[in-house]
Amino acid sequence: MKVLIISHGHPKYSKGGAEIAAYNLYNELNNQGVDTYFLASHKMPEITHGGTPFNAINEKETLYYSTMQDYFLTILQNRAVSWNEFFDFLDYIDPDIVHFHHYVHIGIEHLKTVKNWAKLKDKKIKVFLTLHEYIPICWNRGQMIKTNTDKLCYESNPIDCNRCFPEIPPSQFKLREIFYKSYFDEVDLFISPSYFLKDRYIKWGIDEKKIVVIDNGQPKREKLPKRELKEGEKRRVFAYFGQINPFKGLDILLESLDFMDRKERKEVLIHIFGTGLEHQEDRFKNKVNHYMDKYKENIKYFGPYEPEELGGLMKNIDYVVMPSIWWENSPLVIQEALSFGRPLIVSNIGGMAEKVEHMINGIHFQYKNPLDLANWMVKCKNPEFYDSLYENIEHPLTIEQVAKEHINLYKTKKQ
């Protein structure tokens, strides 16, 4: 059995959660003796060879230069060229399983290209697709929140989508839906990293029997000891990890300091690890900067970090806070925190509420509500309270386990 994993980026160049998950799976499948190949799209013309979109990194990893013309439909610019050469690539690898970890950048056409190729070769192949955001359901970057109010969206339909994007007529959204569904017909099995996301896709129209939940795996890690406290010190270090943008809600976390009295605030430290603030629009940037300035004593900004540093950073914090204002799916930050043995405080919606158990290994606060978050943070400072959460943390699914589950699915005969 030969497996081809197709990712919308290589972690070497792009460190998103989905790319890392795809790459981890590829490596682990090979470790477990499955002959697996990795194809990752990129948008760096400077590293391409003339006359081909491909350049191999090594025997098993290949980069694929793609230019996406239309993000509304995620189709490519130069379609004719892309699939002729794609056939050539498939001939060369000759996979039995093609597992897409995305289609943005890659080109959704390739869901059909691989099926057309198989038909031409008279070969039976299976196509898998791991779902990440809600891209076919929502044109607002697949986030399922309203464009003008940032309110959560529960179910899309052409009329409501047009309210978010008045320049696009409702019928165009219906076409988009028809389009994606016809492509998703080519997929034999969908993998969803969360039940929440699975339910959203079923509600949208994917057959329940065609979608399976497997979380993204984490490397096996030792649970870190609790941070050492000085005499009388509280569990006061709350950390934020990851991209800084409005969807991730860092501003809610900072604003929570407004809702603590002076004494309470004095016992709180917020550590920020991540980047991206400089790319955000002014309203958000100003709000974050305002609080950083106002509570200099409480907020420390550490900037970007490499995945390898994570253990060291986690050692010196108590809680990881994830205050996202969109649904999320299966956030990498949650997986990492749990694997290092750190309890979380998360928004009470979507993938976050699913992956963290309230009052077991973390806390759910009322999303978008800094007052509720402040109340919980004050409560969480109590070292005994912390200990009970800490003790309950179990290691999330490992990459090894995830790969095993995938192999089982790959081997299952088509229904």
Partner: protein, 541 residues
Amino acid sequence: MNFAIDTVGIVNEKKIIIGWVQDENVDIKAYYNDGKVLEDTKVLKFIRKDVNEQLKLDKNSRTGFIVITNLDCNFLKFNNIKVEANQEHDSFQQVLNEYLNYPIEEVKVFVKKLIKNDIQAFIDYFFEIGNNRYFFSGWRYSKDGESVKVVVKDGNFQYFDCSRDDLKNLENIGECYKNAGFYGVVELNKIFNDKIEFIFESNTEILRVKKDIDKKNIPPKEKSQIMLNCIDINKKEFKEIFDKVYGKALQDMWSEYFNNLDLQIEVKSYGEIPKNPQLSIIVPLYGRVDFVEFQNAVFSTDKDFLENVELIYVLDDPERFYPTIDEYLKSRYDIYNVPMKLIKYNYNLGYARANNIGVKYATADKILLLNSDVFPKQKGWVSEIIRKYENLEKPGVLGFKLLYEDETIQHIGMEFKKSEYLSNMFINYHPHKGLPDIDKSEKIEEKEAVTGACMLLEKKNYVKIGGFSENYIIGDFEDSDLCLKLREKGLKIYYSSKPEFYHLERQSQDLFDDKNWKFKITIYNCWQQMNKWSKLIEGER
């Protein structure tokens, strides 16, 4: 008897002759050179002191005269004495100016009025519409508010008034803009130098305007637009306009246009069309060719479709897509592997003709006429509609439930409905359009007509009735007309609630920048349908 003509000249398209005659009671008349009296001549007689003194006449003798006549006047007659009045005199302007200051008030006023003309007029269009008939339109009004009659010289003409809101701001127009427009059709007896004379007459004044025939090649679509936009359907007479003038004129113009096209048809295939297909699907393409992508995407995962269908796209939009359509379909075929035929030609022929051509190339017994913005909701629909059709009694057409993108009803059959707003003509009515699709039951019903957006019928029947009628303008009413033709042959029109389709209608209907025109076309087409089918339509009620 002594007399003299002092001067002859032209003002405001009228010939003015000034002179004197010894006998104030003499009868002055103006004539053509063939001896015909010019009836619309006006004569003012007044006291000429200088003449009376010279000839020693009574000092109050009205010996002076000013004659206003039309340009064709060649001579005057004083009783039986003929006097040439052909040549314009160089002195004319000077003499006229002297009369402006004439010591008699009556003369001054007369001359002032002569110089000034209250009638304003302009001819916007004058073009041929076939069979020696010409369409004309323009506007006119008189600053003094008098109504102004329009005459087309040397022709049998009929014209109608219309409002011209665009003239509201003209000097002294007042409320006259409401009736300032005119439009009509004239059959010309003769044309001199491609010019035709329009005469605008109020009770007191007259204005002549010569207009060149528009020689530039205006496409019939544009001509129809110009003609139809004149009609004010709020006026009762609009139906009469069609009955008497427009109906035949537009039909002739279009059929002459189409009959003279040098049509070059090309046929191509992409992929291998199934042998002995169960169904030929004909999809005309106009405007949004990218719908092909979405239809292909949907068809590509439906095995039943791929095994049974001959898919035919008819490109009816050569201006935009003639050179690119081949490559476009080829690359879609490479992705979707849906075999298809392409028929393309070098003119935009409209929905009816596009389908009529498409059907000629259909090889299956059954044909489905499908719009490019219609998408099936589920797989296996091809076999289902064929099975349903085959169980019908005397089937002419089978239509289906079409839904909008918001799942509301677009089509569940059509009814003819009397419209009081449109002179009691019957319009094609889509019952429950835009309402929620409550009735989910599976049923087949007989209907008065069904939409052409998605209709299943047999090719032999289609051919027998001559396909879609080609005299409706730009895609409207052909479908109901087709149903009526089949009903006339004793066949029945059916609607089935299953399978369902989406019809994203708004997308391909945006062919009209000018909504007013779109509406007028509908009215015209509706009139045609009534003209042809009123017995069958009304007979049911």
